[in-house]
Each structure stands twice: as C-alpha cells, then as structure tokens.
C-alpha cells in the first residue's frame, strides 16, 4: 500500500502523539473448531495527536469497534501494539475512556451516581466525586436532573449523561463508537455541537467511529476510511474547514459537499479494491 502508514499525520512530531495504533491486527478464534480464525482488523496504523479529533468511517463489520476495544485495553492486539503517550497499552488504563451508541447508564443509579460511576470504581472520595459530577452536569446541560433516574430522561439527555460519565474520569483520550447514531436528527446535531465544544474546551484527543459521513466531516480534523473485513485503513482525508468547535457552521460550509462527495467516492473505491 502506501509508504508510510496512512493514518499517521505526516507533519506531526512523535512527541505530540497521544494515542497510536502501530501495525495492529486482531484475529478472533473461530466459533467452531477447525475453521480459520476470523481476522477483524489487519495491519492498521493510526496516530492521533494531542487535541485532535479523528473519525473512522467504514462499512459495518469492518472492525472499527475492535479497534476501539483495543484502544481502551479491553482486548490486546494479536499483532502490533497500541500506545498512549508512548506507553504500550497492556490493559484498561486511566488515560482512555469510551462511549458507545448505548448509553450504558445503570438504571438503579441516579444521573449523578451514574456520572460518578468511574470515579467510584477508582475509589475517589465522595465529596470530590460529587463536585466533579455537579460540574459536568452543568457543563452537559443536565443541571436539575442529578436525582433523576435514567428512564426519566430523553435519549439525548441520557447520551449527554453518558458523555459526562466518560469525561468524569478525566481521560486524555476519548474513544467513541457511533455515540449519536441512535438519536433523532435534531438531537444528534445538538449533541455534536456539545461534543465539539467540550472536546475543544477540555482538550481531549478523540477517535470517533461513525457511519454518518457528514457527522465525521463536521466534527473531525481528519477522516480515515476503512475497508471491509479484514479492516484496513484505505484512505485518509484531512478536513480543512476551520472552526472545529462549531459543527453547525461546518455543516453549512459550501465545501462540506465536496468532502462528503470525496468520502462517498472513497468508500466505493474501498469496495472495489476488495471485491
């Protein structure tokens, strides 16, 4: 394929890199004995600089979620390594937190207790947990709902609570797996703006998996396109729309269409390469 790994921004110095997947492959044991192991991702290299948002787009089942699980240390790669701040990831660690399409709020905990969940696991004392939770409730525009239970909130609010829970442990890297794909179009746009502003303010490095091409372009500094299984990064596209904290403005930009067109074409190229 290409000379240097396509996911690595060529103009960035290594010291700046927050999270890096270096020649990572993942194979899973087959369901029934005798069958060949399933390769979910193959030889993927991605480097994301501090404060950068990178979106990952590709067909279903291309191993995007596998990548994310390896980033958060839930699985270890079969080959290659994942680094966070230059340190190899050998298991779950405090620098990385993930957020999924499912909000994963615990129904028996209030919203505040849900936001405190990660801190409680890490034995942060109650007063400090509460301070952090209240600050994030405010930031995620959930003030007044701290004592509500998840079922009392709308889907958008629940996903904001999930974002607050993810931010509460103060990770350097956010790994997001289609976090807004279950929301209606308008709620989704509002949450995209909230996320974009939060990531800018809190200087989080983010890997954002999505099916939504416009969402990927509106939120990201770069968009990576993955192929069908076994997933490889087939192309990288830099997004040069400026003003990353305001996805509304980016959506309205006249150049938006060109980026989406390019991605659509790229995804088709991805198909042809592998069929």
């Amino acid at each position: 394929m290409t000379q240097h790994a396509p996911g690595v921004g060529s103009n960035r110095s290594d010291s700046n890199i927050r999270i890096e997947f270096r020649k990572v492959s993942k194979r899973f044991a087959p369901q029934n004995a005798g069958a060949a192991p399933v390769t979910a991702v193959e030889d993927v290299s991605i480097a994301i600089a501090d404060g950068e948002i990178v979106s990952l787009i590709g067909p279903s089942g291309c191993g995007k979620s596998t990548l994310l699980n390896m980033g958060s240390g839930l699985y270890l790669p079969s080959e290659g390594e994942v680094f966070v701040d230059g340190e190899p990831v050998t298991g779950p660690n405090r620098h990385v937190a993930f957020m999924l399409q499912k909000d994963l709020l615990l129904p028996w905990r209030t919203i505040r207790e849900n936001i405190e969940f990660g801190l409680e696991i890490r034995h942060v004392d109650a007063a400090q947990r509460r301070d952090t939770a209240m600050r994030l409730l405010n930031k995620c525009r959930l003030s007044g709902f701290e004592n509500h239970y998840p079922h009392q909130l709308s889907g958008g609010m629940r996903q904001r609570a999930a974002l607050a829970r993810t931010l509460a442990v103060d990770p350097k890297v956010l790994l997001m797996d289609e976090p807004f794909s279950a929301l209606d179009a308008q709620t989704k746009m509002v949450l995209q703006r909230d996320l974009a502003q939060t990531v800018v303010e809190e200087k989080k490095t983010t890997l954002f998996i999505t099916h939504d091409l416009v969402e990927g372009v509106a939120l990201s500094d770069r968009v990576l396109v993955m192929s069908r299984r076994p997933g490889r990064i087939v192309r990288e596209m830099k997004v040069d729309l400026g003003d990353r904290g305001d996805p509304f403005a980016r959506r309205l930009s006249p150049r938006m269409g060109a980026y989406v067109k390019e991605l659509t074409d790229l995804l088709d190229i991805g198909h042809q390469e592998l069929l």
Binding site: N69, L74, N93, A97, L104, L106, P107, W108, R109, V169
Partner: protein, 262 residues
C-alpha cells in the same frame, strides 16, 4: 397509564360485587339442588366453624406454626438459592460441572422428598421447613443464574475500562442487575413455600394447618377443611404481598409500567 389498569372506585365496587354475588350463590344455590352440607358447607357454616376452631381447635396456634415454617423455609431457601445462583453465575466452569445434577434435582418433584425428611427428622417442624427450602431454592437460583448470564457485556466492559476489580463488577453491576429477576423468583418462591410446608405437614405431624386438613378429613368435617384452605390462602397472600412490598421498595427506580409487567 391507561384507565383500564387503574383501580377506580367504580371498579373496586364492581370487584366487591362479584365477591358478594359469589358468596350468595354459594350460600343459597347448593340447597336448591339438594347438595348436603357435609359435602359443600355454605359460607355461614364455614364462618361458624372458623369461630369454633379459634375457640376449641387452637386455630391460631396451628396457623402460626405453618406461617413460621413458611417464613423460615422461604428465607433459608431463598438465601441458599441466591448464594448458589451467584456462585454459579460468576464461575461458568462450576456451572458446567454441576449443571446435569442441578437439572436432575430440579426435575425431581420436591414434595416427594417429604416422607423421607419426616423419616429423618421426625414429627417436628424441621422436615416441613426442609421441604420448603428445597422447593423454594430452584426458582430463586435459576432466576439469579439466568439473570447474571444475561447482564449486558458492554456494561461489564464499561466497568472494566475504568479498571474495576472482579468484586466491583459483581457488586456494582451484576448484583443490582439481577435484582428484578430475583424478585420474580421470590414471588414464585413465596407461593411454593406454602405448598412445601403443607405437604410436609400432611405427611406427618400433629400441628400446623396441614395437620388440620388431615384432622378435618378424618372427622368427615368439610367445614374444617374449608377453613384451613382459607387460612393457607391468607398466609400465601400475606407472603406474596410482603415480597411485592419489598420489591416496590428495592426496585423503586424502575418505571411503573415495568413493575406491573414483570
């Protein structure tokens, strides 16, 4: 919530009307068809027998003994079911090894053990409690085990991503997640406990409502049998009600509709 599910005063009156109509039919219909009272005593006859049994037959004493056996059997059987359910739930290997025996014991009719326990433990309260424990154990254990198996793996991954310990996963996710099915199991168990106790008392002993059933039969006194059945039902309603009450307190975070559905 729709009107059909809420108890309006109108509905309550209707419900009470059904009861009164039933009692009236029971009182006056059988004599019309020449059904003798020793076959089917009417409500008034049963009420008089109830008063007589309180005075003469130590009805409250027997009811108390049975209630005690039910409560002790229910509590111990549920605790045992929970402990074994959680242990097997967190260690799939142990479940794999033990599952054929658990299945066999689950299929075996538990009440058939009653004579055995009476032979072992004599005409005391213990064999009755033991039958109740055995019969209560399975629905509780199976519900806990199934629930712990079906906890969303993403929830566990979420906890793991925060570097949780195994113990934290259990007490912060698995245990609370299994509470709704656990309570479904406890509801079933509360009604089964009475069956276990009564069968134990029928097999042998000289106290408890099961004994009164045998005694009434021996006397050819159908009214005693009816009174005893009503007392057993009363114990059952109270036991079931206690579980529902506890469930509403513990699972207060669930939306109401979900409460009624499960």
């Amino acid at each position: 919530m729709s009107n059909a599910n809420t108890l309006t005063p109108r509905m309550a009156a209707l419900s009470l009307g059904v009861l009164l109509a039933f009692l009236a039919a029971w009182q006056w219909l059988p004599p019309l068809f020449n059904v003798p009272e020793f076959i089917l005593p009417g409500p008034l006859r049963i009420w008089n027998e109830f008063l007589r049994m309180i005075a003469v037959e130590k009805l409250w004493h027997h009811t108390g003994i049975t209630a005690l056996e039910v409560v002790v059997g229910f509590v111990l059987g549920s605790l045992l079911g929970m402990v074994i359910g959680y242990v097997l739930g967190v260690s799939p290997r142990a479940e794999l090894v033990l599952s054929p025996y658990i299945l066999a014991l689950q299929i075996a009719p538990k009440v058939a053990f009653a004579p055995l326990f009476v032979m072992w433990l004599g005409y005391t309260v213990y064999p009755k409690i033991l039958v109740a424990i055995l019969i209560v154990f399975f629905p509780v254990m199976v519900n806990v085990l199934t629930a712990i198996r079906t906890v969303d793996p993403d929830l566990i991954n979420l906890a793991r991503s925060f570097s949780s310990s195994r113990l934290q996963i259990f007490h912060m996710i698995e245990f609370p997640a299994t509470l709704p099915p656990l309570f479904s199991g406890l509801r079933i168990a509360s009604t089964l406990a009475i069956i276990g106790v009564v069968v134990g008392e029928l097999v042998g002993g000289n106290q408890g409502l099961g004994y009164l059933l045998m005694y009434g039969e021996g006397q050819g006194n159908t009214a005693i049998v009816f009174v005893t059945i009503l007392m057993l039902t009363l114990i059952g309603v109270l036991a079931y009600g206690a579980v529902v009450w506890a469930e509403a307190r513990v699972l207060h975070y669930l939306p109401r509709a979900q409460h009624h559905a499960t």
